[in-house]
Amino acid sequence: PVKIGFINSITGPEAPIGENLTNGVTMAIEDLKKKGVEVQLMKEDDTGKPQISMSAMEKLAGQGVAGVVGPYTSACANAVSKLAEKYKVPLLVPAAAKEEITRQGLKYVYRLNAPADKYASSLIDAALVMGKPKTIAFIYENTDFGTSTVKTAKEYIAKKGIKMVADESYSKGSPDYRSTLSKIKGQNPDLVFMVSYVADAILLMRQSREIGLQPQAFLGGGAGFTTVQFAKETTISNNVFSTTQWTDDVSWPGAKDFFNRYKAKFGKEPTYHAACAYQAMLIMGETASKNGGDREKTKAGLKSGSWKGIMGDTKFEDYDGFTNQNKHQMLVLQIQDGQFETVFPTNFASKKPIFPFPKWK
Amino acid sequence: MLKVDKLNFSYGDMQVIWDLDLVVNAGEIVTVVGANGAGKSTTLRNISRLVKWQSGSISFNDADLAKFEPHEVVEMGIVQVPEGRKIFPEMTVIENLRMGSFIKSARPKRDENIDRVFTMFPRLKEREKQLGGTMSGGEQQMLAIARGLMTNPKLILLDEPSLGLAPLMVKFIFDIIQEINRQGVTVLLVEQNVYQSLRIAHRAYVLETGRVVMTGVGEELLNNDHVKKAFLGM
């Protein structure tokens, strides 16, 4: 079997998300086995801390892995990417959003998901297609993901001539956003752009309704707004736009099947993290085993190969200062009647968008 | 009433009480004198079960104290007025006194007892609402004794009640001790004021490095040459 490392946040503050990646990888290993690819998975917990992530990478490099999938968080992926280059271990980052990771010209570092700037641009583009928004308010969690997404969003709206009227970051675990939302309401923005994980996403929308915040559109720029858990809260989640790396109803091959099998196996729906991790492990597993576990050849194989799978067409390219970055197509979704519907880009769309946001009841 | 039998006690590796025997009969004032570090306070702490002895026994009215927790000892009728007074600093005088009658048997007589100690120490009544911690040394000592009496004890253990008190106050405290003894409370008194304490004691023990070296009637010991030399500096 070919040895492949997997670094992930299994414990620690990032564990809730990390779990999805672990599940995705677990499924990938099973599927590889079905295809006749035997993978010896070397799982390492980085507890969300970069130095621990490095320990893990050092250890894996010493144990002769053909390649490594992970780590989940941007901070860890950043720290590990340089080590990968140093030890010449192919590293495939499945879901970390920070742009810099694939902008350092590192030859051994590959990334499957789209970086942070795509979250903002795809949502704002969608809004511009649907209407003529003039003002936007940002409310986002002050994590790496939140701040870097909003940073690129700010650059993007400047180009598009939209004015920012509020810029509010919050730390996770503050249950009461009413004051902040009232303040935003006072500015009467056309768009409300939010970046949050699921729990905060639900609270933000619940409290927006309480307060009566009524923009033309709510844009959910992050993980939380694309979860089923969020969609289930139909009183508050209907008609919210969001963007994601992946959804089950997209026409990419195997997506629906993956969704069903994942749900059957783990008892909950896969997030895009799970899908990314799954696909990343598939790619790494296939490439590494095809090349007999040789790192150099695996690296070359990743560079030259192209894949079609649950994440659509995948190819690692150099462009716009990126190296080995998959030009992943982000999808814009809208929750309609409790269901996620793809509304942009139009060629993947399953429903027409509802715009502007209907009056709260 | 109280019987200490072959008591041995050590703090960690250091033995401070050696085969100590001591008896207090009902109605007596018994005083224990001894040099610094002789183990007087330690003996009282053992009786109150604040520390656990290694061998020997202490019995009170024929009940073996080894079986009881400190608070149970109080319920049996032994109360200690400890070295350093140990007033509850952030409680008022009256609250301190009320704590004195925390045990069930004392609660019904609480108001009656408060009146009693207030007549005994009129100063406390004046300062009813003052916080214990802000009282002067002498007032705290009065409060400590009064609080002890609130329990309706059968036996009261007094550890250096006159420590740090002005001469007038010392005299007053010894008068009080005799007064409560007359009211039927048995007293076990530990004192550095050897002269005064031997004067009022029915019987006395002399402790040296954790051992009883002498025992007898108070007045007798007062005239004993060894006592005179060792404790009275005469």
Binding site: - | E139, K171, V194
Partner: protein, 241 residues
């Protein structure tokens, strides 16, 4: 000659309570001053005011002619005035010798010198046989001696002793009395002593100040004090020397 310590109308208020009010007296070099008074008269508070532990609410403290107002205790100690604590405060986990060394380091930066001074002072209080014992385990009497040795190690000119005999029996007190008298005989150190043990105070004091309810009630020689009817009423009761 300027008095070594001069206290001018010192007052200290705690909220509404005047723990000291308008206390004035002075001390000459080499003498022993006794400070007595009923409980809560303000003796310890006065020590605290003199040594900078509390700033006096009013009035001045002059040490060797210099005003101390607002000076922190460590500065006061460096100037040559040190006090002991009514409730002894050994550095519990350090050895007896180390305790005294901490005092000695006030005058030297060398551990070696400090160690010598410490041994010397332990001999003075006759505690040298316990130099290596942990201070926290000493019985009260020896703690009091340690307190004195540590204070002496700072090489003071003025030593303030707060009830160093409290809790000792008469025989033990005698030892301390002898120690105080020895220090006086050696000549370099002036002392102020708070004590409730009248026998002791009579024996050692050159002069006595009596405080009552924060005010100075009387000042005079021991003989004057015991025969002062006000002092007898407020403090002594029927004590007879």
């Amino acid at each position: 000659m300027t008095p070594i310590l001069e206290i001018k109308q010192v007052s200290k208020f705690f909220g509404g309570l005047a723990a000291n009010s308008d206390v004035s007296f002075h001390m000459d070099e080499g003498m022993i001053m006794g400070l007595i008074g009923p409980n809560g008269a303000g003796k310890t508070t006065l020590f605290n005011c003199i040594t900078g532990y509390y700033p006096p609410s009013k009035g001045d403290v002059l040490f060797k002619g210099q005003k101390l107002n607002g000076l922190q205790p460590d500065r006061v100690c460096k100037l040559g005035m040190v006090r002991t604590w009514q409730k002894v405060r050994p550095l519990t986990k350090l050895s007896v010798l180390d305790n005294v060394m901490v005092g000695a380091l006030c005058r030297t930066n060398s551990l070696k010198v400090a160690r010598e001074i410490a041994h010397e002072q332990l001999k003075v209080v006759r505690l040298d046989h316990k130099a290596d014992f942990i201070a926290g385990g000493l019985p009260i009497g020896e703690r009091k001696k340690l307190e004195v040795a540590r204070a002496l190690a700072t090489k003071p000119e003025l030593l303030l002793l707060d009830e160093v005999m409290g809790g000792l029996n008469p025989a033990e007190s005698d030892e301390i009395i002898q120690l105080i008298l020895d220090i006086k005989k050696a000549g370099a150190i002036t002392q102020m002593v708070i004590e409730h043990d009248m026998k002791a105070i009579m024996r050692i004091s050159d002069r006595i100040v009596v405080l009552n309810s924060g005010e100075k009630l009387a000042e005079g020689s021991p003989a004057e004090i015991v025969s002062n009817p006000e002092v007898v009423r407020a403090y002594l009761g029927d004590f007879h020397a």
